[in-house]
């Protein structure tokens, strides 16, 4: 999910939005806080998604828009600032401790060979895939989806054709934030813990997944994410938990050497970083 959100942000906006991990964390923490105060889970998720969307809008107006004509590095740095800001706000509000997230789904695990698969994890995987599928369908078949893709290919051509870039782009920000927020909630449901720093490692993995899958390709990002997940599991299994990151980043490195445009990427998309 995070990889897809990054892909959306980079593909369409040409903007590596570093606030995405922050939004991921916000959704997890806000839904946790709401659940803890005794709210119904539907309400909690609603609040979390609203908060995500609000942050998305804020990032658009405070970082992307003021600098859309200037250097591409400017929004990159200011969105990184947003990430730091969000984390510190949450630390102030909810503390920096790891918090355990209530189990919303009856836990049912089963084994595939020697690997244990959690039911909640499987459910969130299925949900994520369903969201991504819905997203890719709407990019493909709706009017707005075509406008988004036109902007992704060439902002100038899109505006010559009358696409209202100034109204489509903020909608992409909100969509990308909602996606990230949903990802944060699903993460919390399946791993049953949240913390103010939960976004960071996910952020790195999301970027890795996007690079592995090939930039600007939604399904590539999904494949990259699944591949990273698989490598994580396998390296935990065979190398031990300490070596997980070596496995993941080793894969990333190897892939960048062998096929720098990513598994499903086009060479040109790399320029966007």
């Amino acid at each position: 999910m995070v990889a897809v959100a990054f892909t959306l942000a980079i593909g369409v906006l040409n903007f590596l939005n570093f606030s995405i991990p922050g939004i991921f964390m916000i959704a997890g923490m806000v839904s946790w806080a709401a659940l803890k105060s005794g709210q119904h889970w539907l309400f909690a998720f609603g609040v979390a998604l609203t908060a995500s969307a609000a942050v998305g809008v804020a990032v658009y107006f405070l970082t992307y828009r003021p600098s859309s004509d200037s250097d591409p590095e400017v929004p990159l740095v200011s969105s990184l600032g947003f990430l730091v800001l969000l984390e510190n706000l949450i630390v102030l509000w909810l503390g920096s401790d790891q918090q355990s997230y209530p189990a919303l789904i009856a836990d049912f695990n089963f084994r595939v060979g020697s690997i244990i698969v959690g039911g909640a994890q499987l459910l969130s995987l299925a949900l994520s895939l369903a969201f991504v599928f819905a997203l890719s369908l709407s990019l493909r078949f709706t009017n707005l989806g075509r406008q988004v893709r036109a902007i992704a290919e060439s902002r100038r051509t899109a505006s010559i054709l009358g696409v209202n870039v100034g109204s489509v782009v903020p909608r992409v920000f909100v969509l990308s934030a909602l996606f990230t927020g949903a990802g944060g909630i699903l993460f919390a449901i399946s791993y049953l813990q949240v913390s103010s720093s939960m976004g960071e490692s996910i952020g790195f993995k999301g970027i890795s997944a996007m690079i592995i899958g090939g930039m600007g390709n939604i399904w590539g990002a999904v494949a990259g994410g699944l591949l990273i997940g698989l490598v994580e599991i396998l390296s935990t299994q065979f190398l031990g938990a300490d070596f997980v990151n070596i496995g993941v980043y080793g894969l990333l490195l190897a892939l960048l050497i062998i096929k720098p445009e990513g598994l499903f990427g086009m060479a040109a998309a790399r320029e966007k970083l």
Binding site: R146, R149, A150, A152, E153, S154, R156, L161, G162, V163
Partner: protein, 256 residues
């Protein structure tokens, strides 16, 4: 006098210090084809982009269908029927042929009419119809130009602006293209045509304007301008010798 679809007064535009348009005035009457010719760098594309709104003019006034659109955003101008077929066609190659056409119609709500018009385009250009769900990058230059024209027509233009549509096309495609422009014009479309292929452009146009270094050098009846031997030399063929000021004065003012 016919009603004016486009009335441009004293339009100026610049890129930094470069003055690309200096006080250009231009009229297009409803149902007319007007062509703007001139050497490379004369400011022709700048003129069209100022009209569309992708470039902000520094001065002047643009009236379209009786309304002052000088401060309108691009998408509003297109919605009102001022549509551009850009230089170099600007086909979106990450999309299919059909998606390119649908994108042209993205502002319209009348889905069934859009569908009918797309099918008409396919009838007219079987090459597009046969490959409607293929990526647009598979098209030849000429087919891409037809796609760009079809895409623009789907925005329901009242005035169609075309920036060097014949560039890079074979003679066969060029004459096809000009026939098509004439057809659309007969069906009531007003056209503002920019061309390097001046002979053909002057042949189908009613009125013509010659731009030189950002200024209007001459304007008048297309046939009369085409007939000017001096003009042929200075603007339409090689620049053998300068057009005299007296010549210019003679041609300016022919129109009214």
């Amino acid at each position: 006098m016919n009603e004016l679809i486009l009335d441009v007064e004293q339009l100026s535009a610049c890129y930094g210090r470069v003055e690309a348009l200096i006080g250009v005035s231009l009229q297009v009457a409803r149902g007319e084809i007007v062509t703007v010719v001139g050497a490379n760098g004369a400011g022709k594309s700048t003129l069209l982009h100022s009209l569309l709104g992708t470039i902000a003019p520094t001065n002047g006034r643009i009236a379209f269908a009786g309304e002052d659109i000088s401060r309108w955003p691009i998408h509003r101008r297109i919605d009102a029927g001022l549509v551009l077929v850009p230089e170099g066609r600007r086909i979106l190659v990450s999309m299919t042929i059909e998606e390119n056409l649908l994108l042209g119609a993205h502002m319209r709500q009348d889905k069934s009419a859009v569908r009918r018009e797309i099918d008409n385009i396919y009838d007219r250009f079987p090459n597009l119809g046969r490959r409607r769900s293929h990526g647009a990058s598979c098209l030849s230059g000429g087919e891409q130009q037809m796609l760009a024209l079809g895409r623009a027509m789907l925005a329901k233009p009242q005035l169609l602006m075309m920036d060097e549509p014949s560039l890079g096309l074979s003679p066969l495609f060029v004459s096809k293209l000009f026939e098509l422009i004439k057809d659309y014009n007969r069906e009531g479309l007003s056209v503002l045509l920019i061309e390097q292929n001046t002979a053909n452009a002057l042949r189908i146009a009613h009125q013509a304007t010659v731009l030189e270094l950002g200024r209007v050098a001459m304007e008048g009846d297309a046939a009369a301008i085409a007939g000017s031997a001096r003009l042929q030399e200075a603007y339409l063929g090689g620049a053998a010798h300068e057009v005299t000021e007296a010549d210019k004065r003679k041609w300016i003012g022919r129109r009214s």
